[in-house]
Amino acid sequence: MHLVSDNDRVVSVDELNTSRLLRHASKQAEMRKFDEMMIVDVDAHHYEAENFKDIIPFMENDVYRQLSLAQIAKSGRGVVNTTNFGFQDIGGRVTRYPLRASERTPPEKMRDIEIGERWMDAMSVDYSCLFPTGMLNIGMHPSKEMEVELCWAYNRWVTEKALPESQGRMYSMLCLPFSNPAACLKHVETFGHRKGVGGFMITTVRDDMPVYDDAYMKVYRAIEERGLALSFHSGFNWGKSGVFQSCNRFIAAHALGFSFYNILHLTNWVVNGMGERFPKLPVIWIEAGLAWVPFLMQRLDHEFMIRSSETPLLKKKPSDYMRDMYYSTQPMEIQDMDALETTFRMINAETQLLYSSDYPHWDFDLPSTISDLPFLSERAKHNILGGNAARLFNLPPRNEKQRENLIKYGNLAADAAE
C-alpha cells in the first residue's frame, strides 16, 4: 500500500493490523506486568458513522429514519450528522487514519469490537468505555429533532448490538441529546438499567449549553438515583464557532478547544452549586488533558473570595468542588514533570484521576504514561490506571492477581466470583 507524501514521493507501507502496529505497547505491558493490574480506559472510541446503516433503523421517527436512510444510501458512509473539519491524521502521518479501511477482520464478528479488542489486548486494557467519534459533534446539529433521533438510535444499537459482543469488556456512558431535557430524561429512564451502561455523557461542544438550567435537574437526579456517572466529553469546534475562527492552524483550534469547552461548562457547573445539589452524582470531565484544572481552580477561587454573593449555594471554595469531581488523564501534558506533579497534587489524583487512552485517535496515551511517572506511589498508579474506575463502575477483576491488588488498595467493588 502507498501513502500520500510530499510532491511525487511514494511511501510503501503494510496494510493496517492494529496488533502489529501496537506490538511495542504489548512489549511495554509485558515488561511492566500490566496483566496483574486492572487497567480501565474510561475514554476510547470507534467510528460509528461506518455503522450508520445498522444504527439508523433504530430511529423512532418514521420521517427522520427515511430521510437518513436515503441520505446514507446516496453517500455510502452517511452524512446525517454534522461534521467537524480538521486534520487529525496530520497529513497521513498518523497512519491508522488513512489505512483504517485496509485492516482485515473476521466477518463473523462486529468489526469495531474486533479492532477494539486488538488494541485493548495490546495495551493490556481490561475494560474500556466506548464512545462514538462523530457524534461528539451532535451538539452542533442544526436539527434538534435529529439530535434526539440519532442519540436514541445510537444508544439502542450500542447497548443491543455492540456492547454485548464485547463479552463485558466494553461499557459506555451514553450520549444525551442535551438540547431536549425531556428526551434526556427518557434516555436515562430507558437505558439507565441496561447492561454495560456506566452512566451518561454530554458532549460539551455546544454554543449554548446552560448546564445549570432548572430543566435538567430531573435528568441529573435520575442519573444520581441510579448510581450512575455523568460525564462531560470535550472536543474542538473549528469553523462553526466565532471563538475559534481566528485560528488558522488546526493545532490552535484543537489545543484550545478541548480545554476551552470543559473550562466553560465546568465553571457554570461549579458556580451554580451543582456539587451541593447532587453530592452523590459522580461527575467526570473527559479529554481535555489536565493542565487547565490548576489554572481554573486558582482563577475561580480568586474571584469567589470577592464575589461569593453571586454563588450563594457554595459552602466551600470552587476548587474544593473541583476536587470532588473526576478527570480523565488523556491527553496528559508530560512536558514539565514538576508542573505535572503539582497538578496531580491539586486534583487529588490518587482518588480522582481516571486513566484514558482515547485510542484510536491521534493523541492517544498508553498506560505507561501513568505507570512510569516517577512521583507516583504504587497505590496511586493502581488507583489511576484502574482502581478508581473499578469502584466507580463496579468492574470485577479479570484474574486472581488483579483481585489481590484491588483488595490491597481498597478498590474491589465487584467480584466476578460473586
Binding site: 510530499d6 507501507v13 511495542h24 493523541d363 492517544f364
Partner: protein, 121 residues
C-alpha cells in the same frame, strides 16, 4: 562489534526502509539520497515504531524581508520520517526529533560489503 546482515543492496531502493531486529532493539535502515541511515525503531515519545511510518519533507514557513509569510512549503533540504503512533518527526540524516533537537534516536553504523548491507550493533 558484531555486524547484523540487513539485506542485499538490491533489496532496498532509494526512499525505502527496512526494519530488522538487532539484539533487544529493532532498527530502521533507510536508504536516502544514496546514503544509508539506521536508527532505533522505538520512538522517544511513547515507544511507537518510529521508523515505520510516513517519509516526508519537513514542512517550513519562510518569511519575506518585511516579515510577512510566504506560506507553508516543503523543504528541499530536510526529509523526516514520522512515528505512525502520534506523528513525532525525526530528521532522516541525524535521527533528531524535529520538534526538539535535544531528543535523538539511537543511531547505528551501516556498512556495505560487496552486495550486502549490515548494521553494527
Amino acid at each position: 562489534m558484531p555486524e547484523i546482515f540487513i539485506c542485499k543492496k538490491s533489496e532496498l531502493q532509494d526512499g525505502e526502509r527496512k526494519i530488522v531486529a538487532v539484539g533487544e532493539d529493532e532498527v530502521g535502515v533507510f536508504l536516502h539520497q544514496g546514503r544509508y541511515y539506521a536508527y532505533s525503531n522505538f520512538c522517544l515519545h511513547q515507544g511507537g515504531p518510529a521508523c515505520e511510518g510516513l517519509i516526508i519533507a519537513k514542512t517550513q514557513e519562510l518569511l519575506n524581508e518585511d516579515r510577512t509569510s510566504q506560506g507553508l512549503s516543503f523543504s528541499k533540504d530536510q526529509t523526516n520520517f514520522v512515528c505512525p503512533w502520534h506523528g513525532y518527526e525525526y530528521d532522516i540524516k541525524t535521527g533528531e526529533c524535529d520538534s526538539d533537537r535535544r531528543l535523538k534516536l539511537r543511531s547505528y553504523q551501516v556498512v556495505e560489503k560487496s552486495s550486502d548491507i549490515y548494521v553494527v550493533s
